[in-house]
Amino acid sequence: MNYLTEALAWIADPANQSGPNGILARLAEHLLYTLIATGGAALLAIPIGYAIGHTGRGSGLVVGATGAARALPTLGVLTLIALLAGIGIGAPLIALGVLAAPSILAGAYSGVQAVEPSTVDAARAIGMSEWQVLWRVEIPLGLPQLIGGLRSAVLQVMATATLVAYVGGGGLGRFLFLGLKTQDYPQMLAASLLVVALAVVCEGLFEVSVRVSLARKAARSRSPQLIGG
C-alpha cells in the first residue's frame, strides 16, 4: 500500500499540521461537532429513556422510535435540512444529533429497564421515593448500558461528522472532500486515518469508564451475577 505511507507522510508534514486549515484545527472542529451533536442528543434522549424505563410506559414507543430513527439515512436528512436551512453547521449538527439519539435513548432505557425487579422492590421496601429509586438504584445500575449507548453514538457521529464539510462546515471532512475532488488520495486516506485514530482514543476512554462503572456496579449490587447482565 503505497498510498498508506504517503498518507502517513502527509500527516507528519508540519506544513499540514498548524494554521486555521491545519490538521490540529480541523481535529478540534471535528471533536467539537461530535461533542455538540452527541451532547444535544443526550440532553434530549437520556431523560426520555429514563422516564420510559422507570415507568415502563411507552416502551413500545422506544423500540419503534429508535428503529425508525436508525433507518433515517443521514445523507438524506442532511440534504433535506440543508436545502431548507441553507449552509452553515446547523443542518449537519441536527442530522448528526438525529443519528446519535437512538443509541443513547436505547442505552438509557435498557439500563434502567434491565435492573432486577427484586432490587427495585427492595429499594421501595426500605422507603425510597420513586425519585430516589431512579437516582440511587436504577441510574447507577444502568450506567454500563447508558455508556454503551453513548459509546456507539459517539463512534457513529465521529465517522459521519466528515459530512459536515459537504455543506460548508469544517472538520476532518474538509481534507476528505478536497482529497476526493482533486484525486489527492493520500490526503483523503490521511483524513480517514485521523478519524479512525480519534475514534480509537475515544473508545479507549469509554473502555476505561465502562470498567470503572462496572466495578462500581459490582460494589453497589449485592448479587455478583448481575455483572454483565
Binding site: G67, A68, L72, L75, T79, L155, T162, V195, A199, G229
Partner: protein, 221 residues
C-alpha cells in the same frame, strides 16, 4: 408533488436496487458474526480485540472505504460487490457485540446442565446456547438490518444505484419532494425488513410467544 408523479418508474427501480444491495450484507454480517461473537464470549482474552476492535470499523468513514476497497478486492468502484463487502464490515462491527452479549445472557445453569448431560460443545451451542440467546441475537440483527438499509444510500455518491440517488439528484436540482421520497422510502423499506425479521423470530422461537403472552396478561396497567 410533480416530481413524484413524473418519476414513479424510477422510484420503483431505486427501491428494488436498494433491497438487492442491502439484504446480502445483512445476511453475511449475521453469519460471520456468529462464530466471532461466540469466540469473544467463550475466550475472555479475545473479547476486547474482537468486540471493541471490530466495533472500531464503524469509525471508518464510509466514503473513503468504498473507494479504497476496490483497490484491495480488485473490483471496480461501482461494483455492487464492493458495496456489499463494505456494508458487511459495518454490520459485523455492530453484530459481534450483540452476539457476545446475547450469549452472556444465557443462564449459566442451562449451560452447566447441558455439560453435565454430556452434550458435546457443538451440540451444546446449537441446542442450548443459540436458542436461549435467540432474543438477543434477533435484537442485534434488527439493529444491523435497519442501519444497513440506511447506510446503503451513501454509495449513491459514487454512482451505485439505490434510493440514495434521490438525495444526490434532488440536492442538485433543489427538489425537496425527491429528497423526502428518498428518506421516506428508505425508512419504510427498513421498517418492512425489520417487521419481516420479527416475524421470522416469531416463527422460529415459539417459546417467546408464551413468554410475551404471559407478560401481557401479567403486566400492570
Amino acid at each position: 408533488m410533480n416530481w413524484l408523479t413524473n418519476n414513479l418508474p424510477a422510484i420503483w427501480t431505486a427501491l428494488m436496487a436498494h433491497l438487492a444491495l442491502s439484504l446480502p450484507p445483512i445476511a453475511a454480517s449475521f453469519l460471520i458474526s456468529l462464530p466471532l461473537g461466540w469466540a469473544a464470549q467463550r475466550y475472555r482474552w479475545l473479547r476486547f480485540p474482537l468486540v471493541t476492535g471490530l466495533s472500531l470499523i464503524y469509525a471508518i468513514p464510509s466514503l473513503p472505504l468504498l473507494i479504497v476497497l476496490p483497490l484491495i478486492l480488485g473490483t471496480t468502484v461501482r461494483s455492487p460487490v464492493n458495496v456489499v463487502v463494505a456494508l458487511t464490515f459495518y454490520g459485523i462491527a455492530l453484530m459481534v457485540r450483540s452476539v457476545a452479549d446475547a450469549l452472556d445472557a444465557v443462564p449459566r445453569d442451562a449451560v452447566t446442565s447441558a455439560t453435565a448431560m454430556g452434550y458435546s460443545p457443538l451440540r451444546q451451542f446449537f441446542a442450548v446456547e443459540l436458542p436461549l440467546a435467540g432474543p438477543g441475537l434477533l435484537a442485534g440483527l434488527r439493529v444491523v438490518a435497519v442501519s444497513t438499509m440506511a447506510l446503503v444510500t451513501v454509495s449513491a455518491v459514487l454512482g451505485v444505484h439505490s434510493l440514495g440517488a434521490l438525495f444526490t439528484d434532488g440536492f442538485q436540482r433543489g427538489i425537496i419532494a425527491e429528497v423526502v421520497t428518498g428518506i421516506v422510502g428508505t425508512v419504510a423499506l427498513a421498517l418492512l425488513v425489520d417487521r419481516a425479521l420479527v416475524a421470522i423470530g416469531w416463527v422460529s422461537m415459539p417459546w417467546l410467544r408464551v413468554r410475551s403472552a404471559q407478560s401481557e396478561t401479567g403486566g400492570s396497567a
